[in-house]
Symmetry: none
Subunit: 223 residues, 2 copies
DNA sequence: ATTGGCTATGAATATCCTGTTGATCGAAGA
DNA sequence: TCTTCGATCAACAGGATATTCATAGCCAAT
């Protein structure tokens, strides 16, 4: 998942960024609204976390301009102000969710994933965010992978990788595509991280490892 | 699949080109509209990706001229402009689809394949993107060929070859045409790679191998 | 601060497979 | 029959993938 964080206070920004990275997410940081808008012009993010109090143009204005550009990226607003007025006006300007500071980090993460899930139109039936294939179950809400009922510990990147693989069952995915989704890098295709991680996953999946097939000259396929 | 990308910004062009290549597609790049039109005059593409903002003649004009030449190649328009007006006028000028920047790469790929599928008359029923003929099924999303229900391993070039053959069922394809589509080379016809690969494919298709008929002096025909 | 454990990443290696060529053999048409 | 075009084969070089290792960074606990 790719996240853009627009926050001027460096300490706070750093704190948030680290927490999100620990989730295996890729975080880009902008110190003010203009910079943020510039970045959004070229690249697409899954979620934008936007501080309300910014030097220069305010968070509200950023949000407004974003929507004026017909950009529908989910926006999570952060603010130190506790008044409900702010909240209401924020939502009216196109924010999708709102979190008052100080906040619980787990809550931020939960809400951000919720935003993302909503935006990507996950199945909203009973199997909320569960991906299954044979004895393999990945619960994206709990972020737990189960192999034949046994929980397998995964690192953040490994989780993201298995998630995207299982989500696109029976579809060949190019390395580039995986790199984009999991690592968020749009350049430097001369790395073999993907291969390394595929290897690790295969090992951890045990007998199901062979479900990840390599499509020579193309990438990998799950299923 | 052969794609012509008309985009002036080198960074963007490079980014797009890499991603498309990773999908196994052959990409030709033109830095401006005139160059693009020149290239189209000589060669045939499956899809044209066209930036709206170009130095010299605009993307809209390119599209218009293209259609004036009775060229029906599907056109995918890209633009940084936010207003919907642009979209409408773009489509009116003959573009087949439209994607506002910034876009999600997966979406670009999905849309481009959709365009291609529509143009080549792939099965538009539930078997989205599957080519079938008797016991032979090629799933272009999974990149898997099935012979009577049995998966057959193919190399990258073999996959492309069977795809183009099956997509142009009952049509004779010249070696040059195949060379152009699969190998992306439009010169040097004094190689027999095509013959070699046809041979390999025939072998792998087993009983269906004879579906690939050779049209003496012309090329090959599937069906 | 320092330490230890863990993750992420890049590099190096080894292995396997594909792509390509040129030669030779066979088949079809004049 | 002769000629031309296509089929097939073997072999090589380069490319792609798997796997392992070493390093760097991060976090938590001391």
């Amino acid at each position: 998942m790719n996240i853009l964080l627009i926050e001027d206070e460096l300490r706070v920004a750093d704190f948030i960024r680290r927490g999100l990275k620990a989730e295996g997410w890729v975080v880009e940081h902008a110190g003010d609204g203009e910079t943020g808008l510039d970045i959004i012009r070229d690249r697409k993010f899954d979620v934008i976390i936007l501080d309300l109090m910014l030097p220069g143009i305010s968070g509200q204005q950023v949000c407004q301009k974003l929507r004026a550009r017909l950009n529908k990226t989910p926006v999570m607003m952060l603010t130190a102000l506790d008044s409900t007025d702010e909240r209401v006006s924020g939502l009216r300007l196109g924010a999708d969710d709102y979190l008052p500071k100080p906040f619980d980090f787990d809550e931020l993460i939960a809400r951000v994933s919720a935003l993302h899930r909503r935006a990507t139109g996950y199945a909203s039936n009973g199997d909320e965010g569960k991906l299954q294939h044979q004895g393999l179950v990945y619960d994206s809400a709990a972020m737990v992978l189960t192999v034949d009922g046994v929980v397998v510990e995964l690192s953040a990147k490994e989780r993201e990788l298995i998630a995207i693989l299982m989500a696109s069952k029976n579809k060949a995915l190019s390395r580039e595509r995986i790199l984009n989704s999991v690592w968020g890098t749009h350049e430097d295709p001369m790395t073999n991280v993907v291969d390394v991680y595929i290897g690790r996953l295969r090992k951890k999946l045990g007998p199901y490892g062979q479900l990840i097939a390599t499509v020579r000259g193309a990438g990998y396929r799950f299923g």
